[in-house]
Amino acid sequence: MIEKIIKEANEQYLRYSTRRHFLQECITGLGAMAMGSLVGSCGTGTGTGSARMPAMNGLDPLLPKPPHFPARAKSVIYLHMAGAPSQLELFEYKPELAKLHNQLCPPSLLEGKRFAFIRGVPKMLGSQATFTQHGQSGAWVSNYLPHLASVVDEVSFLKAVQTDQFNHGPAQLFVHTGSPRLGRPGMGSWVTYGLGSENSDLPGFVVLTSGGKTPDGGKSLWGSGFLPSVYQGVQCRSKGDPVLFVSDPEGMSRQLRKQSIDAINEVNRREYEAFGDPETLSRIAQYEMAYKMQISVPEVMDISSEPEYIHQLYGTQPGKESFANNCLLARKLVEKGVRFVQLYDWGWDSHGAFPNEAINLGLRNKCREIDRAQTALLIDLKQRGLLDEVLVVWGGEFGRTPMQENREGKEMPFLGRDHHVDAFTIWLAGGGIKKGTTWGETDEIGFSPVKGKVGVHDVQATILHALGLNHEQLTYQFQGRPFRLTDVAGEVIQPILA
């Protein structure tokens, strides 16, 4: 009996003799010093590749930093239509395709290509929308987006954007993090890492979702990847509590909360001095940000204080989760200096399996949901003098095929299109972007680009360029090499820059 207790006591004692103890305490800690010098440069955030990391002396990681050259835009609002909106029903006018409607797809188009769901030989599908030209620029916009058509002169289209991922998850990751694999930081994280935040009371990177579901790429789309987690996107909700768990529980006053956060941060600061882990700085910053957000976020996320005509302009639905609410919130956030606001709207995957996936039914409903709101966003930013300083980007993760989807070779109950990687449409408006232009052209059925082909990395490089960042110089040292948003590719798309 006694042996058991002694044995247990010995084991407990031995448990405290960790490797850390040996390295730190024995031989006056020479082991720890040696290890530090060996792996010191392996740490994340060290090395010349992380030129934008705040110096390791406790500086605020969200301190605003100057861009490489003068920026045209200070903030970005990215409207991502998760699921991939059909460019052939919205912006790509292809009368030739209409002539081929219901004809069998010629084999030359199918050769060597792999589709997500199309099997065998599908039929061609002409556009279900009617197109007209609008504005002074003469841009083609369909009747699915009548309101956007009225402001199309503010917008620049990229009609020949290419990607190489035909599944939602990897494709969304590719668009937002620069790689189809998980683990890389999102665009907003890169931007806040590069530029900091102009308003220290609000997070620099905010994400709002609508459409009922989170996009397929998941929360990694706005994750901070290998960047310090302070640069992570903060997902706010337009229904209920704006940020979950940010408000104090019952019985805790704000004063008490401040005291406990100060105590925690004091411990963290000492921890940082001892170990130098940049993630600790992140933690300190996040605690302080969370404290400030308790006041600032409910204030900025409260759309009920807006006048009635603003609500009518956007078509908001207070109390519910809607894209219109999110657009109004996006405007309020950039007004307050938030760097990067991402809006995800789910439900654009028009395969044709269900009525809400039909390009002549469900797609029209989705368009109706966003049309007024995105137009209102552009107009509202413009009248407040912000459109010059804010870059608005709209797009999906890939396009849709000119062919009708025939899942497993069978005809679908509704009209739908499959995923198409070779060509899709993105539009940009605002800071640094020319007004009323189109860059890129696809062939007469909208299958392949023929002119002005750009890749996803090029779009990312252009967004960074508008913010004043050279995409090749915004790097972070990780796993032994400098990483950047555009990986090893990407060229700024000069023709659409003002």
Partner: protein, 476 residues
């Protein structure tokens, strides 16, 4: 003088040998000065041997230099100058040496002045010969170009570097003049230009390029692979025929590609870029030539260099919660945001004044500033962008803003400005954007201002999106 001959070999020793007389003769002159001081009288014995060595090496350098000049490719006038100065140095060094050896015998009073004159002449000639020798190798203005601007101005040299071509629209630019010639100027003119013509080749004008050099034409229009001009650039860098020679600044792959493209298009000397075919590999390179310009032409950033702002002034602002950041890493202009200092009011505007040279963008929306505070704001002459939205600013304050000549963007959304205030803005000739949403201005006032400032874009907001039937149709 063909390659491999002994003459050329000796000639190539000139750049090595010539440094010896420079060092030694100048050292001899220094020792000669030094020996007059009682403490260093002992160096007297060194002057003789140093002079002797300097004399011999000067003669050897002259011989080698003459052999080198026979290889040709140097501009005649400069070569002659350097040659005669070098020979003069050698001759004078012999005279000074002999004089020095016999100085004891000739220690007569007035001869001391002759000795001093000879020494000074020697030093001057060494400097002059050396300078012209350097110009022969590195081109005129080699030192001056690298001097800092204040020194250049003081010495009266040409300021700045070689005139860089600023291409506003690369498609409208001339292919040879604006794209290819700058590349040749940077990498080729120093040896194949006005001052020197190595291989009897000049590349600094259309006629000279067409004429070619001692080995024949260097350009075959339409065939870059058969044009020496391009072939030599693509040789391995170690190859003896590779151009530019090893050790000189090399052409970047982009520049080489542009040269290849130009030759392949028929080496046109007068066509514009847009008249030529532009394969996809070349398009981004051409666009990049224009991009530099696009970045520099930011509409709200003035082009001058304001100098750094004082850190104490910046610190005072940051203490208040204002964000002070440089506009970019390229220049010292600053922007100030008051997002986190909504208590900013008139008394604090004085804190901005120390930054008046650097401050160009000022964001004071939602603060407590009023008309009185605008007086200090008006004392910031560099301002191009000013946000005063959602403040208590009214027409009276706009009086003060009249002095802001560089102001290009003014945001007065949700302020108390009326038509009267608009009239006060009519003197701001640089104003490009004015935002008056949620103010009490009327169409009449706006029109009046628009007439006086036709370049100005005035936005009064209040846009409506009409309700249409499609807004409520649900498709099932």
């Amino acid at each position: 003088m063909e390659e491999g001959s002994i003459g050329l070999f000796i000639g190539r020793w000139h750049p090595l040998l010539v440094h010896l007389p420079i060092g030694m003769l100048l050292m001899a002159a220094v020792l000669e000065l030094l020996r007059r001081h009682p403490r260093y009288a002992k160096v007297q014995v060194a002057i003789g041997p140093v002079l002797f060595a300097g004399m011999l090496s000067a003669i050897a350098a002259c011989i080698a230099g003459y052999c080198l000049s026979l290889s040709g490719g140097y501009e005649e006038a400069a070569l002659r100058r350097h040659q005669w100065l070098g020979i003069a140095v050698a001759v004078l060094s012999v005279i000074v040496y002999l004089y020095h050896q016999r100085s004891a015998a000739w220690q007569i009073h007035r001869k001391r002045y002759i000795a001093a004159a000879l020494w000074m002449l020697l030093v001057i000639l060494v400097a002059a010969a050396g300078h012209y020798g350097g110009s022969l190798t590195h081109g005129n203005g080699y030192l001056m170009q690298a001097a800092p601007p204040f020194l250049q101005r003081w010495l009266g040299g040409k300021g700045g570097g070689a005139g860089t071509v600023v291409i506003r629209d690369v498609q409208e630019a001339r292919a040879y003049r604006d794209v290819i010639r700058p590349v040749l100027a940077t990498h080729c003119y120093s040896c194949h230009g006005n001052d020197k013509q190595k291989g009897a080749l000049r590349l600094d004008s259309m006629a000279f390029i067409r004429k070619g050099g001692e080995n024949g034409p260097v350009l075959k229009a339409g065939g870059p692979e058969e044009s020496e001009l391009f072939k030599r650039i693509t040789l391995p860098e170690d190859d003896e025929h590779h151009m530019p020679p090893k050790g000189r600044p090399q052409l970047s792959p982009h520049e080489a590609l542009l040269l290849q493209w130009w030759i392949a298009q028929g080496a046109p000397f007068d066509k514009k870029v847009k008249q030529l075919q532009q394969p996809p590999a070349v398009k981004p390179l051409l666009a990049a030539l224009q991009a530099e310009d696009a970045i520099k032409m930011h509409p709200f950033v003035p082009g001058k260099a304001p100098g750094k702002a004082g850190s104490a002034a910046i610190h005072a602002l940051v203490q208040r919660g204002l964000k002070v950041m440089p506009v970019s890493e390229e220049n010292d202009y600053l922007q100030v945001n008051a997002f986190n200092d909504t208590a900013f009011d008139n008394t604090h505007t004085a804190l901005l004044l120390p930054l008046k040279k650097q401050l160009i963008w000022l964001q004071l929306g939602h603060t407590r500033i009023t008309d009185a505070g605008l007086r200090n704001i008006a004392a910031l002459p560099a301002l191009t962008r000013l946000h005063l939205d959602h403040t208590a600013v009214s027409d009276n304050g706009l009086d003060a803003l009249r002095t802001l000549e560089g102001l290009a963007y003014l945001n007065l959304t949700a302020t108390k400005v009326t038509d009267q205030g608009l009239d006060k803005l009519a003197g701001l000739k640089s104003l490009k954007q004015l935002y008056l949403y949620q103010t009490a201005v009327t169409a009449g006032g706006v029109q009046r201002l628009q007439r006086r400032l036709p370049q100005l874009r005035i936005d009064t907001g209040g846009y409506q999106i009409p309700f249409i039937a499609a807004d409520t149709i649900v498709y099932r």
